[in-house]
Amino acid sequence: MDIAPPSTTKTPMILLALGFALLVIGSYLGLFVAPAEQYMGQVQRIMYVHVPTVWSWMLCVCFTFIAAVIFLFRNDLKWDARLEAGLEVGTLLCAMLCCQGAIWAKPTWGVWWDWDPRLTSVAVLLFAFLGIIALRQFVDDPPRRAVWSAVATIIASADLPIVYFSVKWWNSLHQTQSSPSTVSSAFHLPLRINAFGVFFVMVAFVMLRSRLATRKLREELV
């Protein structure tokens, strides 16, 4: 097995700059221009970063799952590099959104954590991804590492909907809190801008990280 050389950094760097620019604009609007929520006060502003992070995280997980499936079918290590990138970026976004969610929850529900089905499912997937990343550290043979991570990723991804429904159900036996709804005020502009911002940054991250993974694979296969 071998792998093609990594591509240039031009495209990801442009996306990165664009993404960050959008985030700065969107966050400024969300923090200082948008009006405060009627009941939630200032805390609802967290949604302007939280919701975009969640959307990009979901896309990243889909991408990781697809990379795993494609790798198993094609045996092309290029897709393992992308899987590695997706796992790491996905974990980063996941950790971020758990923090954002918990910080939002404290003033809103009074607790850092509640068995909100969404937050809980995300936490389970976070640990699943961490486990797969740990697995990769202990397997030295690139093709085998690739196959095993792909298999583990598929199994973990298949679990996600099951976890969500079971926790939702488990939780419904107790009182439910209000879910972190999308921004209910009419001011959607910061949300949309930030959504694109995080998205471009996420894509740039995956491209740059794939590049690093490709380089490492080339060294290992020599």
């Binding site: 950094t9 760097m13 990165l16 960050f20 985030l23 966050s27 923090l31 009627q38 009941y39 939630m40 006060g41 200032q42 805390v43 502003r45 967290i46 970063v49 939280h50 992070t53 980063l92 950790a95 971020m96 923090c99 954002q100 910080i103 939002w104 404290k106 003033p107 809103t108 209000s178 995080v198 940054v201 740039a204 991250f205 740059l208 990280r209 590049r211 690093l212």
Partner: protein
């Protein structure tokens, strides 16, 4: 929900800071690693 949630700026700043630090930090690390050696 009972009443209005007040004084939330601390939480907002915390959330935005974590977001910013994570994104900028990871970006910086990626750029540095990509520039290494070659």
């Amino acid at each position: 929900m009972q009443g209005v949630v007040t004084g939330g700026w601390g939480f907002v700043i915390a959330a935005y800071s974590i977001t910013g630090i994570a994104l900028f930090g990871y970006a910086a690390w990626l750029i540095q690693k990509n520039r290494e050696r070659r």
